[in-house]
């Protein structure tokens, strides 16, 4: 697949934006400015940048918590996300939620409920709505390798397959679910093997190669959009940091981490852009400068934003409040 130069730069931009935003959030966490935890997609950014950038405007994503690239690519701004980390009123959820529990229906993003794989059936439901209404839109959803062990993962895949719904399933296979290695998570060799049971075609791609993820996503989206039914895409990558910023991940063998260091998705993309594509270093530096500026502004915006009122706690429970006489 030929990807236009501007699109390649867009992929690179979101890789960098996700990386810088999460690095900044991590640093704020270590300064004690973040109330809750910070879970990042460090070293795995290509997964959600790839599938997120391949979507069309009217499509919908039902991500999981390590999908910073998709949140950004769908148009949720770094400012709103940074304010969310700090529990500010200007955050995506106005302080109701923390970290990457963000969604915005206007931008076609469903919020992630902590319960892993819950968004699999919910994403399927969006695809069902498109199918019922005969719209040419698709839904995508993503979860970690651990999440694929939950019933909701299987129920969703089966439902989508039976009804040939326009959805593409992604798995960020980063080898670990918290401390649990893949071999204790499943007895199949590839997460993609799980799709076989549902009659869903699958593909395993290099999750550190954004172009590969993007290309596989685009192909599967075209199939789904043209009533060809769902595809499952396993993105093999590695969680090179701890599960969250408080986790040193001592349980991961050092050799494994070292083996993956050279495969960093940003370095991989830079090598590709400078090599095969022939982009100049200045062009890449330009992207970096823009990203740093954006993150600085986002941090400033978040820091200067007001906190919500304690009594906001009472607002927004119902969409149709019960009228009291």
């Amino acid at each position: 697949m030929d990807i236009r130069r501007e699109e390649l730069l867009r992929l690179y931009y979101y890789l960098k934006l996700a990386r810088k935003l999460e690095e900044r959030a991590t640093s704020l966490y270590h300064q004690g400015k973040i109330l809750g935890g910070v879970w990042t997609s460090y070293g795995m950014e290509a997964v959600s940048v790839g599938y997120g950038c391949a979507l069309e405007r009217d499509d919908v994503a039902a991500p999981y918590f390590r999908d910073m690239g998709a949140f950004l690519a769908r148009g949720i701004s770094a400012k709103r996300i940074m304010a969310q980390y700090l529990g500010k009123k200007t955050g995506v959820t106005g302080g109701k939620e923390g970290s990457t529990h963000i969604g915005d229906l206007n931008l076609g993003v469903f919020s992630f409920p902590s319960h892993l794989a819950d968004n699999y059936p919910v994403g399927v439901g969006a695809a069902l709505a498109f199918k019922i209404r005969g719209e040419k839109r698709i839904a995508v959803t993503c979860t970690g390798d651990g999440g694929t062990s939950r019933g909701d993962f299987h129920e969703a895949m089966n439902l989508a397959a039976v009804r040939k719904l326009p959805i593409v399933f992604f798995c960020n296979n980063n080898q670990y679910a918290y401390s649990t290695p893949l071999r204790l998570q499943m007895a199949v060799n590839n997460v993609a093997d799980r799709a076989l049971a549902y009659g869903i075609p699958s593909k395993t791609v290099d999750g550190n190669n954004v172009v590969e993820v993007y290309t596989a996503a685009k192909e599967a989206y075209t199939v789904a959009r043209n009533s060809g039914g769902p595809t499952f895409i396993e993105c093999k990558t590695m969680r090179v940091h701890g599960h969250s910023e408080h986790d040193s991940a001592k349980y991961v063998p050092r050799e494994l981490l070292d083996a993956w260091k050279t495969k960093d998705p940003i370095l991989t993309m830079e090598r590709y852009l400078a090599g095969s594509v022939g982009m100049k270093q200045e062009e890449l530096d330009g992207v970096t400068a823009q990203v740093v500026k954006e993150i600085d502004e986002a941090e400033k915006f978040a820091e200067e934003s007001p906190y919500p009122d304690g009594t906001d706690c009472f607002t927004g429970l119902y969409a149709t409040p019960i009228e009291e006489e």
């Binding site: 969604g103 319960h115 439901g125 019922i132 839904a139 909701d152 129920e155 039976v162 149709t320």
Partner: protein
């Protein structure tokens, strides 16, 4: 006005709402060609097609989650649990996704989950449960439980038009046993409003679902003995119509709370608690709960009869309270 059964009322509500609004659709097990285990959706697939009356795989969590996703995209799904008991498989989607969407991120989730609940049909432990108590501790959900055909139709229409997730508890025992008048024209019964099923002055029986009919029977006998009962049919169990509850307490000063669900932590516990918190000064005796014992629902008729509150249990409770 016309006379229809409780079951017909539910079916009419579904049919009329589907005709009125193309975003309304039904999904669940065997709801299509078969017309549902209780035949509530019979004939609808012929009328609306297989994409608006969807037979799903046997996967309550999966299809409830899918209903939520479709609702987020502007649809108004009505999920049928084949028996309310199986709603436990969808607990996570309802409690963690549907109930919290609007609070967490401002996304309305207009789904209705129809839950054929309750016993007295010899269904045993897994086909007779009352499930309302499992969910009444979940902010963000709404729970309704009609006892008449009129309310069954009006509440289902209100639930479908509501923008929040509503668990619609339809009592299986009432499907073909209850028949009453409904208007020819469109109407809704507002969510959040109880009704006075019988006016009285000596004692209040606060109840819902099939037990409304048990209460009415008891009231008839008690009336013959000179005790005038007021019966409050809660209709909405979450959130409770506090005003209606307090009004009846202020009127009679004596309260029996009656339900078919097991006693501990049931709706009756909450009703009792809000009365004592808010109307203690009006009370003229203890609040008595008549409810199922804290066991699973037994199968044998002999045991099920002991398990489910009977007219005599209500009469005994009221007489005891009157002697207080």
């Amino acid at each position: 006005m016309k006379e229809i059964t409780y079951l017909e009322a539910i079916k009419e509500a579904l049919d009329e709402e589907m005709a009125r609004d193309p975003s309304v659709f039904i999904l669940g097990e065997d709801v299509g060609v078969y017309g549902g285990a209780f035949r509530v959706t019979e004939g609808l697939i012929e009328k609306y097609g297989e994409w608006r009356v969807l037979d799903t795989p046997l996967a309550e969590s999966g299809f409830t989650g899918a209903a939520i996703g479709a609702a987020l995209m502007g649809m108004r799904p009505v999920v049928e649990m084949q028996f309310a008991d199986f709603i436990s498989c969808a607990f996570d989607q309802l409690v963690n996704v549907a109930a919290k969407n609007h609070y967490r991120w401002g996304a309305a989730t207009p789904i209705v989950v129809r839950a054929p609940f309750g016993g007295n049909i010899h269904g045993g432990p897994f086909h007779s449960q009352c499930i309302e108590g499992f969910f009444s501790n979940v902010p963000g959900l709404k729970i309704v439980a009609p006892s008449t055909a009129y309310d069954a139709k009006g509440l289902l229409k209100a639930a479908i038009r509501d923008n929040d997730p509503v668990i619609y508890c339809e009592h299986k025992y009432l499907y073909r046993r209850v028949k009453d008048s409904v208007p020819e024209e469109d109407y809704v019964v507002p969510i959040g409003k109880a009704r006075v099923a019988l006016e009285g002055k000596d004692v209040s029986i606060i109840t819902y679902g099939a037990m409304v009919h048990t209460a009415l029977e008891a009231a008839q006998t008690l009336g013959g003995n000179g005790i005038s009962c007021e019966i409050i049919d809660l209709r909405t169990l979450l959130p409770l119509d506090k005003k209606a509850i307090f009004n009846t307490v202020k009127k009679t000063s004596k309260v029996v709370v009656l339900h078919e669900q097991t006693k501990t932590g049931g709706i009756g516990a909450e009703v009792s608690a809000i009365i004592s918190e808010n109307c203690f000064g009006y009370l003229d005796g203890p609040i008595i709960r008549v409810a199922a014992p804290d066991t699973p629902v037994p199968y044998s008729a002999q045991m099920e009869e002991v398990f489910i509150p009977q007219t005599k249990d209500v009469i005994d409770a009221v007489e005891k309270l009157m002697r207080y």
